[in-house]
């Protein structure tokens, strides 16, 4: 009687088992790695805006405070985007015929808002509040990076839950004095530990990791 299975059948069976183990172990690992890649988190992704707005000019060269345009950052959950009227406030005199600003003029004349594309996005079940972070002494730069050096703004940090928690577990090293909240390129003074300890106390900063801090 001929053999029921060919000579290589055992090798195939062993290889299949190996492949199965690789799939069962490897796929979850691959997925876990993938969600942490910048491709999945959108970190540094190229987000093209309808207007070539240059933060290098406004925030660095002209030294306009972040809160001049993002005016609700200190008082509400969203930082806020300026109304067209705020752009026009300066640009009636400066660069008032520039082609770059054509969408601004169009928005003003038609009454239709400028459709900016969101750069820093969080899922809908996350309730982030700018005002409390500013009140506690977290600077713009901590999450948004060196916006003053960005020709086109991109997401500077991964914005994953693990990244949020790294600060929520130990906020002290990420705090800065109120005077430096909007400062770009701020470096901690020599006595960083003492400053952090003082800010933790004066701003009543606590480690907040309970779920409803962000998920409601």
């Amino acid at each position: 009687m001929p053999a029921l299975f060919p000579w290589w059948a055992n090798s195939v069976a062993r290889a299949s088992l190996l492949v199965l183990v690789i799939i069962v172990v490897g796929v979850p690992i691959a997925l876990m790695v993938w969600v942490r890649t910048s491709f999945a988190t959108g970190q540094h992704a190229n987000v093209k805006q309808p207007i070539a707005f240059d933060h290098r000019v406004h925030a660095h060269a002209l030294r306009i405070d972040c809160r001049f345009c993002h005016s609700s950052a200190a008082i509400a959950a969203p930082a806020g985007l300026p109304p067209t009227a705020a752009c026009v406030g300066c640009h009636t005199t400066a660069l008032n015929e520039s082609n770059t600003l054509a969408p601004v003029r169009a928005s003003l004349s038609t009454g239709k808002p400028i459709e900016w594309r969101r750069v820093n996005a969080l899922p809908d079940f996350v309730f982030f509040d700018h005002s409390v972070h500013l009140a506690k002494g977290v600077g713009c730069e901590t999450c948004h990076g060196r916006v003053d050096q960005m020709a086109q703004v991109s997401q500077a940090q991964p914005l994953t839950m693990g990244w949020c928690l790294s600060c929520h577990r130990d906020p002290a090293p990420h705090l800065r004095p109120e005077s430096a909240i909007t400062t770009m390129g701020w470096s901690a003074p020599v006595d960083a530990a003492a400053l952090a300890e003082r800010l933790m106390r004066t701003n009543r900063v606590q480690s907040r990791t309970t779920c409803t801090t962000c998920h409601r």
Binding site: P28, S72, P83, T84, A85
Partner: protein
């Protein structure tokens, strides 16, 4: 919104296909979290909006009218989108509370079934095209210079603006007439004077057939004042006493210390006996309890009152006599001018309109609001009479029954889209302020009247002009102040010096043939007269006593049901003369024998998809205009069996006694046995204090006073609005899948001769040792340092172990994606501060954690800690009786902590060792020792 989930129900599927799909969905479920967030755009405003900061809610004072009587409200707006209604503490009808109807009114604004376009015949048109036919010259060419053939039929209104404009309409058409109709309006009394009661000054209150705590104008105010004298802080405190004499079982009846179920035909006799006993204490009254009530009333002379607001005119006149005899008239009971219009414009009786329609004397009939084709008795035949009018038109929110009968139709604006004014029941004037531009091409009644009187201008301009003329808000400051506060100070009417002079004739008690039944046509506390029946939040709100959702039924006592031979759900046939009605049976312990109650407002057949074919139309059977009951109806088993969507099927408490109760005398004799002190709870473990892990500066907790809960359901709807809770529909309610985070449990307790009902708002108890937390395999429900039992939707995988292990059964599972098929407008009512849950996720009361965190953030911006008493949960905020208080255990001088230190405080199922953060105060009844039976 729809109650069918056929597209998701397990259809005929073979095993292989099921396994294949199951395998695929398991494989895909893991990938769900790996997708990138969808690209989003941000659209800033074009112009500067200094008054509006996205992310910060705005509050505007406005007012909502039911049957013309205003309740002052504060509407919450998120970037121009009203999402929530709260009561206005400065308004006399609200005092900060809001009822279920007010809470649900915001859903009505976004109702996709609202009429969206005008029409003439069946051709779509613009309002301007209709307006052209209504201009004075155009109308005069139709109905003649005197306007003899012109009639207006309006829903009750108290608006001075409407009154001024209607006077001009009558000026342009002198022989025209204005009629007002609503089935349960104050107008039905036919008097210029309406009864008022100072419930807060009365120690003894007798209610005769009047559900004054949950229906009618000022019900929120009465409930607040009633509860204020009932919320005893300790055993030695005084407490008011409420007797209720009624056929059905109402919220007022549950709140009563003694409730007597009396069928309608016997109520005049009882009232007469009470009057006789009050006048002469030596009268031997039958039944004996009448004498006991009379003695109690006279013993509290000047501090007692008889309320018969909703009873028949004859009974109301007897009640006035009693109030006169006990020194209540002019003190705890008085009359004041009606808030409805009629001073500078003549309002003709509705019956005159019916006569004119019958004699074909009407050429043009303009109907404004209401739904008269539905809310009038079918025997009147108003529907066909309106159809016979050559030029009938209707301004309404919906293409309802009345809209079917008219030639032209114009959509009416919702109150949150309208400029206007209105008076509260006591005459206090408020501005109705819009929060949004009309969503559809709709107009207000003022726009219509202005067109008919040849004036131009927007409703806002007309309102400003009317106010300038009336002198009420002449200065810009007065106008701004009235807008901001929501009331015009000192605008209430002064009480009339006397009771109405022309007392209606004392009709002899109606006698029905023996063996026949009395039928009560009751105003529905949820959908009113059908005006709110297209509101899914109200349809799904369980009725206080019956726990019935999505419909009505023939409510009857167990003895009556036994006599007829019917069980729950069986059809009964009512017949009287030519009239017939088939209704499903629902047995209610405590209902008067030989009587049947049917709530009005159901059985709608208009174009409203939620309301259509829900329940049975009681108006179709009503014998005459404004009839609240009818004697001599024969009732027999017959008709189809129906499945009733009842939210709670467990009638009794059994052994666990979740509601503790005592009489005031028992409480005074032995205060400590009424409640259960925490130290009496046995445990094998040492008690850590504070519990492990709970170290936050605030420790959140709630105290609920069962002595004052009247089961009105305001908290249930307020919670639904605040927390984006979906509606599941009748069939899913029947499957016990209702989603409410707070429910009001009802238990019947039987005594010797009467039936008592006990109510208990039940919500997540936020147990310190929460059984749900131990069994969650993915830690989707965990405890916060400030004592909250947190539910994390984005972690939940839907095992439902938590719900199985919850002894209070307060966890709700999303069996379907209830938000998937919502219209664009319905999505706008969602609270942006609360996650909208999807299918497969567990949810439950969060103690309004979004409000807690928001207040904490606001306090952090000010550099301070939040105080517990700064935060109100949605249920607490709406509660008319202040039965619910929320706060922090660490704030020792707060109302919440003081209440739970009373001896009557206890935890439900304390013996399980769950240590709930919600504590209840035992229900105390102030019974009369002279009345042995009766509850």
């Amino acid at each position: 919104m729809s109650d069918d989930h056929d597209h998701e129900s397990p259809s005929a599927m073979d095993r292989r296909e099921f396994l294949r799909l199951a395998g695929a969905s398991i494989a895909l479920a893991g990938l769900d979290g790996c997708t990138r967030l969808p690209a989003e755009n941000i659209l800033p405003y074009v112009d500067n909006r200094p008054e509006l900061t996205p992310g910060l809610a705005q509050y505007y004072a406005t007012a909502m009218c039911v049957d013309g009587c205003a309740t002052g409200l504060l509407a919450v707006s998120h970037v121009g989108r009203p999402t929530k209604i709260e009561g206005n503490p400065d308004h006399p009808a609200s005092l900060g509370a809001s009822g279920a109807i007010e809470q649900a009114s915001v859903l009505q604004l976004y109702d996709p079934d609202r009429a969206q376009a005008a029409r003439i015949g069946s051709a779509r048109t613009e309002w301007s095209a209709v307006a052209a036919t209504l201009a004075p010259s155009a109308l005069q060419s139709r109905v003649g210079a005197s306007g003899k053939g012109l009639r207006l039929l309006i829903e009750p209104t108290s608006s001075p603006l409407d009154e001024a404009l209607l006077a001009r309409v009558l000026g342009a058409h002198p022989d025209a007439a204005v009629h007002m109709y609503a089935p349960f309006s104050a107008e039905r009394a036919g008097n210029d004077l309406v009864p008022h009661y100072e419930v807060g000054l009365a120690d003894v209150i007798v209610s005769i057939d009047s559900d004054f705590l949950s229906t009618g104008p000022f019900n929120l105010r009465y409930a607040r004042k009633f509860a204020d004298n009932r919320r005893i802080a300790g055993p030695s405190n005084p407490m008011n006493r409420l007797y209720v004499i009624e056929p059905g079982f109402t919220s007022t009846g549950v709140a009563a210390d003694h409730r007597f179920a009396v069928r309608p035909r016997d109520i005049p006799t009882i009232a007469q006996a009470l009057l006789a006993s009050v006048k002469d204490p030596n009268t031997r009254s039958t039944p004996a309890w009448v004498g006991a009530i009379a003695r109690d009333l006279t013993a509290h002379r000047g501090r007692s009152v008889v309320i018969a607001r909703d009873a028949s005119p004859a009974v109301r006149a007897i009640a006035d006599d009693i109030n006169e005899a006990i020194g209540a008239l002019g003190h705890t009971a008085w009359y004041a001018p009606t808030p409805l219009i009629g001073r500078s414009v003549r309002i003709s009786p509705f019956t005159e309109l019916v006569d004119a329609l019958r004699s074909r004397a009407v050429d043009t009939l303009v109907i404004v609001g209401g739904n008269p084709s539905y809310t009038t008795p079918a025997s009147l035949g108003l529907s066909s009479l309106i159809r016979s009018v050559p030029n009938a038109g209707y301004l309404g929110l919906y293409e309802n029954e009345t809209a079917r009968d008219v030639r032209w139709f114009v959509p009416m604006s919702h109150y949150l889209e309208s400029w206007g004014d209105a008076r509260a029941y006591d005459g206090t004037l408020s501005i109705v302020q819009p929060l949004v531009n009309p969503l559809y091409a709709s107009i207000t009644p003022a726009d219509l009247y202005a067109t008919m009187s040849g004036q131009s201008g927007t409703a806002y301009e007309l309102l400003r002009a009317s106010w300038a003329q009336s002198g009420t808000g002449n200065t810009p400051d007065a106008w701004t102040e009235a807008l901001k506060r929501g009331v015009v100070a000192g605008s209430a009417y002064t009480p009339a010096p006397a009771r109405p002079s022309a007392s209606p004739p004392r009709a002899a008690a109606p006698t029905g043939a023996t063996g026949t039944i009395d039928v009560v046509f009751a105003e529905d506390p949820k959908v009113h007269d059908g005006a709110f029946s297209n509101n899914a939040w109200l349809q799904e709100l369980p009725s206080t006593i019956t726990q019935l959702t999505w419909g009505n039924a023939a409510l009857m006592s167990p003895a009556t049901a036994h006599r007829i031979g019917v069980a729950n759900g069986d059809g009964v046939k009512l017949s009287a003369g030519e009239r017939r009605l088939e209704v499903p049976t629902l047995i209610v312990p405590g209902h008067a024998d030989d009587a049947v109650t049917i709530h009005c407002g159901y059985g709608r057949i208009g174009a409203e998809s939620v309301a259509r074919n829900v329940g049975v139309n009681a108006f179709a059977f009503a014998p005459a205009l404004f009839a609240t009951d009818e004697s001599g109806v024969s009732v027999a088993h017959g008709g189809a069996r129906s499945t009733l969507a009842i939210a709670q099927t467990q009638p009794m408490m059994e052994n666990s006694q979740p509601v503790r109760t005592a009489t005031l005398a028992e409480y005074r004799a032995s205060p400590t046995t009424v409640g259960i002190r925490p130290e009496r709870v046995l445990s094998l473990y040492p008690e850590p204090a504070p519990p492990v892990g709970m170290h936050g500066p605030n420790q959140w907790a709630m105290t609920i006073d069962l002595a004052t809960c009247i089961g009105c359901g305001a908290c249930v709807v307020a919670c639904q609005a605040e927390n984006n809770i979906p509606v599941v529909g009748a069939s899913e309610v029947h499957n016990a899948r209702i989603m409410h985070w707070i429910r009001i449990d009802r238990y019947f307790g039987e005594h010797e001769a009467a039936v008592d009902a006990l109510l208990q708002p039940m919500l997540c108890q936020h147990c310190e040792k929460a059984p749900c937390e131990y069994v969650c395999p993915v830690e989707a429900t965990v405890h916060s340092p400030d004592g909250l039992n947190e539910m994390v939707y984005n972690r939940c995988v839907g095992t439902r172990f938590c719900s199985n292990n919850c002894p209070y059964k307060v966890r709700r599972f999303n069996w379907f994606d209830f938000n998937k098929d919502l219209s664009e407008t319905e999505l706008m009512v969602k609270n942006p501060n609360v996650t909208v849950r999807e299918r497969g996720v567990m949810e439950k009361c969060s103690f309004c954690v979004q409000r807690i965190r928001e207040s904490e953030i606001a306090a952090a911006r000010d550099g301070r800690e939040v105080r517990g008493s700064e935060i109100q949960t949605a249920c607490q905020q709406s509660c008319p009786t202040n039965a619910i208080v929320f706060g922090s255990l660490s704030e020792a001088d707060s109302e919440m902590v003081r209440r739970r230190q009373q001896p009557r405080a206890y935890s439900v199922l304390h013996d399980l060792g769950t240590r709930p953060r919600v504590q209840y105060l035992a229900r105390i009844r102030n019974t009369n020792p002279d009345i042995s039976n009766g509850v």
